[in-house]
């Protein structure tokens, strides 16, 4: 594509507007009458030559204060390329505008004033360039005319800047000594700096690879709107933000998980067989399934992360500070969900890149945060896919856009567990999510091959309630149907994997944590995993639930009153517990927290194990985990 979007950043008076004016002027992109108007304005401001900055400083307040206060977009073209410049202001209070301009840029020109060297603002701009994933950076060392075009000044600045930039992720940095005022090395090579061997700024802009940000591999199609002119046509309008898709491809609609196939692809200019990123198209599918704005269509074999717990960098852009715990509206692709910032890991000191503890983020501050959304979003990390890794937060009270966010991944959930030694609670980082891309063969592919989905059925209840009996009945039925299954129960796990654990609350928590992880491994292998565990604490069960995608964790409360349990007592445990021989026996000498909203509750006084198994299997069919019984 012969289009390059670039942004310019620098401190106050570094000469950004002059540089852009110079680029426009020397590429003959300025009309005579515009130049005359600027010449007249320059004279009225008492300047002795044409002030090129006035070409871009558009707003009245800017012209009066001679500073740029907002992002201005400028356009020019050379025979090689069309350019869109986002001219962004340098003062600290308007950093949000730089982020705005940088969000769509392929390249950033960071200005450094040769007379002042690398300032706090220069570092801030370099950091934002890196944070926003702009692939190319040009450091334009300006006002070389004021330092006698001295190579030593240039070299010192290159060294200082390089020391800071080494901590950033921008790999491609070019340094160019210029004078925007005099026109050295902007459009034309300068004869006054023979020691500089590189080309002028414009030749860099003309030759750098454009559109390098676009991810061409992972097909992601956020649905914008549904086009339904009549009964016969139902199309989904949108633009693939990355990757490509062809007619006939197998697709999945997220977050519903419904699968179908691409039937047709229409463009504003007629039907086609393939749509690639950036092309506005309308897709139709072979099956009539429910698809709406905010859904994302992806390939069945290449899925994004679907999650509610998010780990992100957040740039705060509003005069009112971030309020942790308050609901905001999160706008991500075409999806809008309620979201709460649940915690701030740290605030980045953009001058030193140190991580400072913080309770809030104020205007222009950048931090790493954890966010919980009310509904799942489908995303990739910003580093891999800026289109599906970016979001903004909107304040529902003012409707203002208050923050820009870049997703790193799914949040690591803070879970309070008791430390084994001290017995006092400590905080451990436990992975709360499933990162599907991590698996060599994704679960969805295994599911497609085997013809049913994976799920975890978690049976909880007191000892002797009938959990294992029911689980065994379920598994035998599923196996007979040809389903892939696995059964985990307390005895089995405690004999091996958890042989080192006792029955304290902390050990029980660890026991269930390990079980949850094992269940997840079998789940990822495509199995319907039946877990029969007392698992008395709600928090432990809820953590296991959090490991699986929504709709794939079925909590079954197997209930029986204590009297019944005592009368059953197959292992004689209740008798021993009552005699005080067993410490921490659930229901007698240790608590059991009943599930508050299990998917199913089975009372084994009135329901047989076989009937219970039928109930669970019916529920799995209802969820779509398994289809109708195979004939």
């Amino acid at each position: 594509m012969d289009l390059l979007r670039f942004t310019t950043a620098g401190s106050v008076d570094d000469g950004k507007s002059t540089l852009i004016g110079r680029l426009l002027f020397d590429t003959k992109s300025i009309f005579e009458d515009q130049l005359e108007a600027v010449a007249g304005a320059s004279r009225r401001l008492g300047e002795d030559r044409i002030n090129l900055a006035l070409l871009t400083d558009g707003l009245r307040a800017e012209r009066e204060q001679k500073i740029t206060i907002d992002v201005a977009y400028r356009y020019f073209a050379t025979p090689r390329r069309k350019f869109i410049i986002a001219d962004t202001p340098g003062h600290e209070q308007y950093t949000r505008n730089m982020i705005t301009g940088a969000s769509t840029a392929d390249l950033a020109v960071v200005l450094v004033d040769a007379t002042r060297g690398v300032l706090t603002q220069s570092r801030r701009h370099a950091f934002i360039t890196s944070l926003l994933g702009i692939p190319h950076m040009v450091v334009a060392i300006n006002k070389m005319d004021l330092v006698g075009y001295a190579q030593s000044v240039f070299d010192d600045i290159v060294r200082d800047f390089g020391l800071f930039a080494a901590k950033l992720t921008v790999k491609d940095i070019t340094y160019i000594p210029i004078s925007a005022l005099e026109g050295d090395n902007v459009v034309d090579p300068s004869s006054r700096m023979p020691w500089y061997q590189g080309g002028p700024l414009l030749s860099r802009l003309e030759t750098v690879t454009g559109n390098a940000r676009r991810n061409t591999i992972d097909f992601r199609f956020p649905v914008q709107c549904v086009i339904r002119p009549n009964q016969d046509f139902r199309g989904f309008a949108g633009t693939p933000v990355s990757g490509s898709v062809s007619a006939g491809d197998d697709i999945v609609v997220l977050p519903s998980g419904l699968a179908t196939r691409i039937k047709t692809i229409d463009t504003p200019n007629g039907a086609t067989t393939r749509a690639t990123s950036g092309e506005a198209v309308i897709l139709t599918t072979t099956d009539e399934i429910d698809i709406a704005r905010g859904d994302m269509i992806v390939r069945r074999k290449n899925l994004p992360t679907v999650a509610r717990q998010l780990d992100a960098y957040l740039c705060w852009m509003d005069g009112t500070d971030l309020a942790v715990g308050r609901p905001y509206l999160l706008a991500h692709t075409t999806r809008r969900v309620q979201a709460v910032v649940t915690g701030i890991d740290y605030r980045v000191n953009v001058d030193t890149l140190h991580r400072d503890p913080a309770k809030t983020l104020a205007m222009n501050e950048i931090g790493r945060v954890e966010i919980t959304a009310a509904d799942s979003i489908c995303f990739d990390s910003y580093r891999l896919n800026s289109a599906t890794g970016s979001f903004v937060l909107i304040d529902p009270a003012t409707n203002a856009t208050v923050a820009a966010g870049m997703l790193r991944g799914e949040a690591q959930e803070d879970v309070v567990v008791a430390a084994p030694d001290s017995g006092s609670p400590s905080t451990a980082k436990v992975s709360a999510g499933v990162t599907w891309q991590d698996w060599n063969i994704p679960r969805e592919v295994r599911e497609a091959q085997q013809g049913h989905q994976a799920a975890v059925v978690w049976l909880t209840g007191m000892s002797g309630a009938g959990k294992t009996t029911i689980a065994r009945a379920i598994e035998r039925r599923l196996f007979a149907e040809g389903r892939r299954t696995m059964l985990l129960d307390g005895d089995q796990i405690r004999h091996g994997l958890c042989g080192d654990l006792g029955f304290s609350a902390a050990d029980r928590a660890e026991n269930i944590r390990r079980t949850g992880e094992v269940a997840r491994l079998f789940f990822e292998q495509g199995a319907i995993v039946l877990c029969a565990f007392v698992s008395p604490y709600a928090v432990d069960r809820s953590r296991a639930r959090g490991l699986m995608p929504e709709g794939r964790f079925v909590e079954v409360f197997v209930r029986a009153d204590l009297e019944t349990l005592r009368s059953r007592d197959p292992k004689g445990l209740y008798a021993r517990a009552s005699e005080g021989q067993l410490d921490q026996f659930t229901g007698v000498s240790a608590p059991y927290e009943e599930p508050s909203s299990p998917e199913l509750t089975i009372d084994t006084r009135v329901t047989s194990a076989d009937a219970a198994a039928e109930l669970v299997i019916a529920h799995l069919r209802e969820l779509g985990v398994i289809g109708h019984q195979r004939g």
Partner: protein, 301 residues
């Protein structure tokens, strides 16, 4: 993406289509501001393409100053019916008759500023929440700073110092009752892009854009068409010349340029070589350095 379009035009087309679809998705009662000029024609053209095979999901709204070139009005009605769009017209004359605005007097009297009141009245009357326009950022300094989704308060005013940040392609169209948005799908297009697109797509245009013989009045370096709406002054020089218009607005303030460009291809060649800005012939912009910003703040197009 149109594969017959070359260079960066497919990107611009897709971006505009994306923006128009966002309008349909985010607003309840949008309208497309239609002047009969080439930019609003291109927006309507893109809207037709964005929603095909469905209809354009919003009507066209024309604010008629009463000082239009008759060619523009003929074209407007024909084009709207070709595009299968509903056309709504609101007239500055009605605003004057109702005492909402007062006609300007004096030499350079124009109804250009008065349109703002008629437009804002129409937005209130029709309870619109979005007005899509054909403005481009390359036209004028103040427009260079405008967002693609540009918020207007309950008085229709633009606050350039307090615009919502607009990042990636995430457009925030949330508003309170009474507020509305101006949306500009052509923000990133230049005049040359527009002409190249018109050429590639073979889009019909009013004849005013092409060279024709016409009686013109030379005044303060601007050639104005001689119409009933212009009061001749003693030192005006009237002559018949071969001219065309680069913008089609109010006949009292839209300047013609001397040109022999009779086809779109001629115009592209002329535009590529032009040394005068497109709006350079707009007497309304030359009232002061910040004339556009001042009008935009008050709710102008």
């Amino acid at each position: 993406m149109n594969r017959s379009l070359s260079g960066h035009l497919p990107l611009l087309e897709s971006e505009a289509v994306y923006v128009l679809r966002e309008v349909a998705a985010q607003f309840e009662r949008p309208v497309l501001l239609f002047s009969g000029g080439k930019d609003s024609i291109v927006v309507a053209w893109l809207a037709r393409k964005a929603f095909a095979p469905g209809p354009v999901p919003f009507p066209l709204l024309h604010i008629d100053t009463g000082h239009n070139f008759p060619e523009t009005l003929d074209f407007r009605d024909r084009f709207a019916s070709q595009m299968h769009c509903t056309l709504v017209v609101r007239r500055v004359q009605d605003s004057i008759d109702q005492g909402r605005v007062q006609e300007e007097t004096g030499l350079s009297a124009s109804r250009n500023v008065l349109q703002t009141t008629t437009l804002l009245d129409a937005i209130r009357e029709l309870n619109l929440d979005a007005a899509v326009g054909g403005a481009r950022r390359d036209e004028e300094k103040a427009r260079a700073k405008e967002r693609i989704f540009s918020h207007r308060d309950a008085f229709g005013q633009w606050d350039p110092r307090n615009q919502r940040p607009e990042l990636w392609n995430l457009y925030n169209g949330r508003r309170n009752p009474g507020e509305h948005f101006r949306v500009f799908p052509l923000s990133n297009w230049t005049e040359l892009d527009i002409w190249q697109y018109i050429d590639a797509e073979d889009i019909p245009l009013p004849t005013l854009y092409f060279a024709h013989r016409r009686e013109v009045v030379a005044r303060a370096g601007v050639l104005l068409a001689r119409t009933d709406h212009i009061r001749l002054q003693p030192d005006d020089s009237v002559s018949v010349r071969t001219v065309r218009f680069r913008t089609v607005g109010d006949a009292t303030c839209t300047g013609a340029v001397e040109s022999g460009a009779a086809t779109v291809a001629d115009i592209i060649r002329e535009t590529a070589a032009a040394r005068l800005a497109e709006r350079g012939g707009r007497a309304d912009d030359q009232r002061s350095d910040t004339a556009m910003e001042d009008r935009k703040r008050q709710g102008y197009f």
